[in-house]
């Protein structure tokens, strides 16, 4: 073997022997300052904006002892608010999941006029103040609203007594409004990236719509769907403005954020502590959601 090839081989060996870790470390060292600065800024921001206020909530809620805390969160107004919040969230998530799936399907698998307009319309809740949404519902379904005769007519037919203003159905409606873009927003990019070739392949083999959705489309979008549902949930729990406009009866149609506001606005030292205790409930729900979101994100990424 010639000297030259030996030399090349030696070079190769050297190249191979440098562990990849060492290279990475070098990179880190070179860029060390910038990440440190960015991390520092983020941590300070994060502490001031999020961690301290949250710790404050927990601290304040337990200030008068655990018994007071327990009393606050088991008060009938609180329990009613929790119930309304959960009902509104559950229905909003269910409705928006269905709607989000349909909208994403329509936007990604079909070509039609006004597609861009529809896509923009879906985003409206992101850009409109929720209070306006709530007021709009009052205008529509309130005593003077154009839809009231229609609702009354339907009530007569079905023998029901549903009202959409200052009632739980109104709260549900407002919650649906503010959360409806979340699911479709998560699904559209995923479905766009997937294209429709796999669905077409399934159709070529004689599979029908439902089978195609179940076997081909759904496995692909399940994590994005779940992620969208979780975001939807988080937003529904915390919604204030839209709900505030259509809900006026404490202990009946108030949600947790409204109840907290009412307690806080009462102004006595006791009620402020109670407000923090109820807030801690929302924080707890948020943490559960956050953990779920992390799990879903992680699993979704791993599958890709």
């Amino acid at each position: 073997m010639s000297k030259e090839t030996n030399h090349i081989k030696a070079q190769e060996r050297v190249a191979k022997e440098i562990p990849p870790k060492a290279e990475k470390n070098q990179e880190k060292k070179q860029k060390g300052f910038v990440p440190c600065l960015l991390i520092g800024i983020s941590v300070i921001f994060f502490l001031i904006m999020l961690v301290f206020p949250l710790v404050e909530v927990i601290y304040r809620s337990l200030k008068d002892g655990f018994a007071a805390y327990k009393n606050a969160i088991t008060a009938s107004n609180t329990l009613s608010a929790l119930q309304v919040t959960l009902i509104a969230t559950l229905i909003a998530v269910a409705v928006n999941t269905l709607f989000g799936l349909c909208a994403a399907w329509l936007l990604t698998k079909f070509e039609f006029r006004g597609k861009q307009v529809l896509s923009t319309l879906i985003d409206i809740p992101f850009s409109i103040s929720p209070v306006i949404a709530g007021l709009a519902y009052i205008m529509t379904f309130g005593r003077m609203g154009w839809a009231t005769p229609l609702v009354e007519w339907l009530n007569d037919i079905f023998g029901t007594n549903i009202s959409f203003v200052f009632s739980v159905p109104g709260v549900v409606l407002a919650t649906i409004f503010v959360t409806f873009p979340f699911v479709s927003r998560e699904l559209v990019p995923v479905m766009q990236a997937q294209g429709s070739a796999e669905e077409e392949a399934a159709a070529m083999m004689g599979a029908k719509g439902l089978t195609i959705f179940k076997r081909v489309t759904f496995p692909h979008i399940r994590w994005a769907l779940l992620y969208g549902m979780i975001l939807c949930c988080a937003r529904a729990f915390g919604e204030f403005g839209a709900v505030y406009a259509v809900s006026k009866a404490r202990g009946k149609t108030f949600t947790l954020p409204l109840e907290i506001d009412a307690l806080y606005m009462a102004g006595s030292a006791d009620s402020i502590t109670q407000a923090f205790a109820v807030s801690s409930l929302l924080v707890l729900l948020a943490i559960i959601i956050l953990v779920l979101k992390q799990v879903v994100e992680y699993r979704g990424k791993r599958e890709q």
Partner: protein, 355 residues
């Protein structure tokens, strides 16, 4: 005819993807739909499959008009451009999909899948997912999946486009062999003429939504019917005026002519073999020599017209600036839509094939 397209028209807005397409395919044949990108060839394939609906005209399979029959019931297997394998299913599940949709019994499905896995040589890979396979292996899965429900017709959309050049040739051979082995009528779309020539029994050339010519590779190559085909097939140089060239004086003036490298012979004036042909040849100067791996490509200037020819490396060396005798055997003269072949009249009676 086994498969027929009758007066098919299709528009996408202003874009005409198919203009009065008519053709038939005999049973057991392998057909290439060849054309530049955007020519409408894929749309034609998709209309055959039922994935796209024609604006007018009939698609006929086995004598039956299938216009209103959904894709899944036309008895067609389709291999998609990027294979479109179900990425959340294993190789086995991919191949079994069509059979499961038909609700065949498990034992039967298993036997059929294993038969196909064996056929395409993927034994032991049944449990893998598509992203654990190479491009070639994915193509094999796509092929097996399309064949599983025993279709009567196999359609393939750019089956080799997603594979790197090195493996492509190998796979071409393999696919051709497989299709012949299974004996299924098949139509594939390609923009690569080499691919079409090598694999297909017959080629259909599509340009701007129009069927230009249908014929065997040799026919298409030797007797291009339209000016588009004459230019599209082979490496062609288009010349604006060829009349006045020795042996072609009678040609109509102001018509474009197409000359392929193999229509041109360049030889040194002391060449014994071509001595008798010197009267039929012009003189030209070599302006460029390009090495093409197994041969040289010479560019010669003859009275200001540039002609290309290929020269075997076995012949005597040549250099730029050298004067050569240049003989043109034949040209295609383009007459509006048509292409007509014209032979060098000074070569009448000379047995060119014997040279």
């Amino acid at each position: 005819m086994y498969v027929e397209m009758k007066h098919i028209n299709k528009n996408f807005g202003d874009y005409e993807a198919a203009k009065d397409i008519n053709f038939g395919v005999e049973q057991g044949k392998m057909i290439a739909l060849l054309g530049p990108s955007g020519s409408g060839k894929t749309t034609i394939l998709r209309m055959l499959a039922g994935l796209e609906q024609q604006d007018s005209g009939d698609v006929v399979i086995e004598g039956e008009v299938v216009n209103d029959i959904p894709p899944g019931e036309r008895g067609i297997g389709f291999v998609f451009q990027n294979y479109a394998l179900f990425r959340y299913m294993t190789v086995y599940e991919n191949i079994a999909f069509g059979l499961r949709v038909q609700k065949q019994d498990k034992k039967k499905i298993h036997d059929r899948v294993m038969e196909l896995v064996d056929l395409v040589g993927l034994n032991g890979m049944e449990k893998r997912y598509p992203d654990q396979l190479s491009g070639g292996q994915r193509q094999r899965v796509a092929f097996a999946r399309a064949l599983a429900p025993r279709p009567q017709l196999l359609l393939l959309d750019e089956p080799f486009a997603a594979i790197d050049a090195k493996v492509r040739k190998e796979l071409r051979e393999w696919l051709k062999k497989m299709i012949k082995k299974v004996g299924i009528t098949s139509i594939f779309v390609t923009h690569d003429q080499e691919e079409a020539v090598e694999v297909a029994d017959e080629i259909i050339i599509i340009n701007e939504g129009k069927l230009e010519q249908k014929g065997t590779p040799v026919e298409i190559y030797k007797k291009p019917k339209t000016s588009f085909v004459a230019q599209f097939i082979g490496t062609s140089a288009v010349l604006d005026d060829f009349s006045g060239f020795k042996g072609f004086e009678d040609l109509p003036k102001n018509n474009q002519a197409i000359v392929r490298p193999e229509f041109v012979e360049a030889f040194k004036s002391d060449n014994e073999k071509f001595k008798s042909l010197i009267p039929a040849a012009e003189t030209g100067e070599i302006t460029k020599i390009a090495f093409r791996g197994s041969y040289l490509e010479l560019t010669l200037s003859v009275n200001g017209i540039l002609l290309k020819t290929n020269r075997s490396l076995e012949r005597r060396p040549v250099s730029v600036g050298e004067q050569m005798c240049v003989l043109v055997y034949r040209v295609y003269i383009l007459d509006e839509e048509d292409a007509n072949i014209h032979k060098n009249k000074l070569l009448k009676g000379v047995d060119i094939e014997a040279l």
